[in-house]
Amino acid sequence: MQSAAVDLPDASDEPLAEAVVDLVLRGMWRGRPESEHRPLVDAGLAMVKGPVVLPTERAKAAAAQILRVPAGSEQEERITAAYEAFLPVNRRIRDVCTAWQCRPDGTANDHSDDVYDAGVRESLEDVHESIQPVLRRLDRVLAGSGQYLTALEAALDRFDDGALEWLASPLCDSYHTVWMRLHQELLLVLGISRAEDEAREEELVTRSRG
């Protein structure tokens, strides 16, 4: 057991560590069998609220500790490079989701206008084209991050099959849901706070002016 501030799940208990990371990155579990969340609850890492399982503060700290790569390492440097390439695209995916949900005048997009929706789909394709090389690089330096491209492509396929909620709905593993999870993992891996993240994104996006 570690003497650090956070009492981590035993290092030998790999499934528990994996589960707590998954729960924290997802923010919640719904509809999972009790056998999956029971060990986490017993370890004080999860709480059950009605149909939802939530991570505890301890779980969040544990996940941060499990995921964090050594500060100053070469791995950190290479992941940081990918993260910085990720940030400007991160701005764009949120703009795409916003355009999907709201027309430019702020009214809800009722999806009655094929041309408008196809235009948003085009910008989504631009985002998807831009994020692929970033994720391919990330995959080389961060184990397991390959799953994000797979999940993003799965969401995109379902979206293209006409299930429109697969772009931005928080109720399924939509493109945005997966993206948010990827973002959260990068922040925990690099130990970056949300405030720092926002400032860095703003700086990268506005860098070029003249």
């Binding site: 609220k49 709201c102 702020g106 196809a118 789909r121 090389p133 949300r194 002016r209």
Partner: protein, 862 residues
């Protein structure tokens, strides 16, 4: 829609290439003279033609019609195009004093998505770049645009592998270095070098653009828009006149203010070279244009009159002068702009009033009357953030997902407040009525999630500090504790302390005008379901013509509950009569206020309908053991189908006479002040003609008693609700005792389907809709085949028994546009709906009348 509206039609076969290269180059403005339309010119070419015809200033350029566009890939045609644009703009490529570059773009016969991006900066070469940067006074923008052009050409015309290009973009962030790397990559991996010659660049760019248009991605996009797979596009070569960044730039403008809808150019412009995605926060308002906005205003007004729609333009600024790059009717203009324009055009006689009414749909009326917080001026504004997701809500502050889920499980409405949001906040957001965050903008993850879940949200509220340990949130100096109520408006970004009421916004003036015109068109009357004087006043302001349903149940609740309880549970007749007298007095006051508010309009008062159990004390709450026993004896297994409506009145024979006497006396009092409401007394839950006859007897007796006491013979009509299938089937017999019917379509739907609404809405309807059994909830949209058939049959039988009988609908369907159309088609006299749906119903009734004009409109009087 574009300047010339056109369907995407089959394409004209390619013209045979003629001897002279560039014979098919069409300068902006000359397409129509050559007999070409949008099919050949593309929407952009046709729009530029129209702008020239209207005498508006446009950027010099030319179109390669769709049929011959591919020939621009040939060197000699490209040379001719370069020469022609140089001639049209009076500049030469490579002239260091008045530099010129070219932009290549594509357009289809209609406005579509998925066109290849524009390729700008054609004609530039490394040796000439410094001269250009010197003229501009900057280099980033130029190199950025240049880099994306080289990348597209490299990928689609020179076969450089995508992975190589991706790596170059990731590894070389600076735009100037990027261009250098890309040019050397092309030299290394490409099928040829990136040429310096402008015509060769243009020819390659045309090949890249058409290559991109033929790519799998573009084909997928065409499929999604149901466009022909082989749709051909026109190409356009535009002059890109380079000038000092301080006096040159580009921008966009729309004709109307989105907030007010009034004519007033809105937009922004950017200095420097035009980019597809200008850096954020660098746009400037139009009034900073050194050359003024007069020409822009003139252009927008001219276009608006011509297109009869709110318009948008893209423009270029060169030496402080404006010329237009593109113009079109706004595809989806802000609602208020559309409404204002329709009213403006109709007032000017440019549009008929009916046409103006037709332009605004009932759904749009609803959208304009969105719920908002009712402000009285005394509210405490906690903070103003960014309006991130529309809607108004109120609830108790929670600071964690955990707390949100706990409270929401008890049915408490909560507002999740978070300084910043992570995936862990998503479950809390889903459980909340609204979301407030301290960081992030309208495109933050939190905003995307809130909109995805349909929750109102305010984001980026500056100065918001959450202290989870203390369970508080600070707005500057003000401290709010977890559990305290707050109210927020996701359209304005305002957050207030306390619980504010949420109500419907009044129609803006131009909508009121259109609704008045709609009133002139419709046949169907629109009334309101309103129980109190205050509700009646709100509804009259929204255009209700009267009250179609006044439920009297509320007159027996609250502090009057003990009185009705005594009537029902009285041990002896004296106690009961005392309670009845007290009730009558209280009801008299209510009715006087209601009738005064109604004025000289019709008002349908429904006598007591509530199920008995609503008035009985909970077990163990009765005054004494004897009353407890009497209450126990009255409890029912299924109160909604038990002792209710007319059935209760027939068992407690003094109930309806007392109510009717209070009503008639109130009418006599109000009439004495000069107001004469058209009174309609309605008996609920009838299924036997005998029930109605008996209840009618009570009402007549009450009228006689009031006449004897006051000397006023109160004029009234007597009618019944039709809310059981039996009542609908026996409409002919019931009509003998009734001067009007009101279809209570909520109950009629429950009883026709055998649905208990609360239960099926929770368990059944969603699954039925998913399976395709139902397209809409029958409680929202009147089921035309079953319930609607009963209404149609009852209307027919009632009319044959009593021609001219007044028929209305007072269920919630009275506010649903499709159900309204159904009622209008049956020739019913009115629909009655809740106050906030009244404007929607007025518009829906007008639209149906315009869609289905009836030859004989005299059939039914309102």
């Amino acid at each position: 829609m574009s300047v010339t509206a056109h369907g995407a039609g089959p394409l004209v076969p390619a013209e045979a290439p003629s001897g002279t290269p560039g014979r098919s180059l069409v300068p902006y403005g000359q397409g129509r003279i050559r007999g070409l339309d949008a099919d050949e010119l593309g929407v952009h070419g046709a729009a530029m033609d129209r702008l020239v015809a209207l005498g508006l200033p446009v950027v010099p350029g030319l179109t390669m019609p769709a049929g011959t566009a591919a020939s621009l890939c040939e060197r000699d045609v490209a040379e001719a195009a370069v020469a022609l644009v140089e001639q049209l703009s009076g500049r030469r490529i490579g002239d260091p004093a008045r530099p010129l570059l070219l932009r290549l773009s594509a357009s289809a016969p209609t406005e579509i998505a998925g066109l290849p991006p524009d390729l700008a900066c054609l004609g530039i070469a490394p040796a000439r770049a410094d001269d250009l940067c010197a003229v501009i006074g900057g280099e980033d923008a130029l190199y950025e645009v240049w880099a994306s052009t080289v990348r597209m050409v490299a990928e689609y015309a020179l076969d450089v592998p995508v992975a190589v290009l991706d790596d170059a973009f990731l590894d070389t962030p600076g735009p100037r270095a990027r261009v250098e790397v890309l040019l050397s990559l092309v030299a290394e991996h490409g099928s040829g070098p990136f040429p310096d010659d402008p015509a060769q660049q243009l020819a390659l760019a045309a090949r890249a653009l058409l290559g991109r248009w033929a790519s799998p991605r573009a084909r997928r996009s065409r499929r999604a828009q149901r466009l022909p797979a082989e749709l051909a596009v026109a190409l356009h070569v535009q002059a890109l006149r380079i000038g000092p960044a301080d006096h040159s730039g580009y921008g966009t403008a729309v004709s109307r203010d989105p907030e007010t809808g009034r004519l007033s150019p809105q937009g922004s412009f950017f200095r420097g070279v035009r980019r597809s995605a200008p850096p954020p926060h660098t746009g400037e308002p139009l009034d900073r244009l050194a050359g003024g906005t007069a020409l822009l205003e003139h252009s927008l007004l001219t276009l608006e009159r011509h297109l009869r729609a709110p318009v948008s333009v893209d423009f270029e600024v060169r030496d402080d002068e404006i010329s237009l790059l593109a113009a079109s009717a706004q595809l989806r203009p802000p609602l208020r702009a559309s409404v204002c324009l329709a009213a403006d055009l109709a007032r000017d006689g440019a549009l008929g009033r009916e046409e103006a009414v037709r332009r605004i749909t009932p759904a749009q009326v609803q959208e304009l009357l969105h719920p908002q917080l009712r402000l009285t001026g005394g509210e405490e504004l906690l903070v103003r953030g960014l309006p991130a997701s529309p809607g108004a809500a109120t609830g108790a502050v929670v600071l964690s997902s955990e707390r949100a889920l706990e409270l929401a499980a008890d049915g408490t409405r909560v507002v999740l407040v978070a300084a910043e949001t992570t995936p862990a906040d998503v479950p809390g957001m889903l459980a909340s009525a609204a979301v407030l965050t301290g960081s992030g903008g309208i495109a933050s993850h939190a905003a995307v999630v809130a909109r995805g879940a349909g929750k109102p949200a305010v984001c980026g509220a500056e100065g918001l500090r959450v202290d989870p340990a203390a369970g508080t949130v600070r707005f500057g100096e003000r401290v709010v504790r977890e559990g305290d109520p707050v109210s927020l408006d996701g359209r304005t970004g305002a957050v207030y302390a306390g619980t504010l009421s949420v109500s419907v916004a009044g129609p803006p003036p131009e909508l009121s005008t259109l609704l008045e015109w709609a009133d002139g068109v419709r046949r169907l009357g629109v009334r309101v379901n309103a129980d109190t004087a205050a509700e009646v006043e709100t509804a009259l302001a929204l255009g209700a013509e009267g009250v179609g349903l006044c439920r009297t149940e509320h007159q027996f609740l609250g502090d009057r509950l003990p009185l009705i309880r005594r009537v029902l549970l009285a041990a002896d007749p004296t106690t009961r009569d005392e309670a009845l007298v007290a009730l009558e007095r209280a009801q008299h006051e209510d009715f006087t206020a209601l009738l005064t508010a109604v004025g000289n309009r019709p008002v349908t008062v429904r006598l007591l309908d509530a199920p008995l159990h609503e008035f009985l004390p909970a077990p163990g709450q009765a005054l004494d053991a004897a009353e407890e026993q009497r209450a126990a004896a009255l409890r029912e297994a299924n109160p909604m189908l038990g002792l209710r409506g007319v059935r209760l009145a027939l068992l407690h024979e003094r109930l309806y006479p007392a109510q009717a006497e209070a009503l008639f006396t109130a009418w006599a009092d109000v009439a004495a002040t000069g107001i004469r409401p058209e009174l309609e007394v309605m008996i609920p839950l009838v299924s036997l003609p005998e029930e109605l006859a008996a209840a009618a007897g009570y009402v007549r007796g009450a009228a006689d008693a009031v006449a004897a006491r006051t000397g006023v013979a109160v004029p009234y009509r007597l009618g019944t609700m039709i809310e059981t299938p039996r009542a609908a089937l026996l409409a002919g017999e019931l009509a003998e005792h009734a001067e009007f019917f009101s279809f209570g379509t909520n109950d009629l739907t429950q009883l026709t389907y055998g649905f208990s609404r609360d239960d099926v809405e929770r368990q059944v309807l969603a699954s039925y809709q998913e399976r395709g059994f139902l397209t809409a909830s029958p409680f929202v949209r009147l089921d035309p085949h079953g319930v609607g058939a009963l209404v149609a049959l009852a209307a027919e039988r009632a009319r044959s028994a009593r021609p001219g009988i007044k028929l209305g609908v007072c269920g919630e369907h009275g506010g649903d546009p499709e159900s309204i159309a159904f009622c209008d088609a049956l020739g019913l006299d009115y629909v009655s709906c809740s106050a906030h749906r009244v404007p929607v119903a007025r518009m829906a009734a007008a639209h149906h009348a315009l869609r289905e004009p009836r030859d004989d409109d005299s059939g039914s009087a309102r």
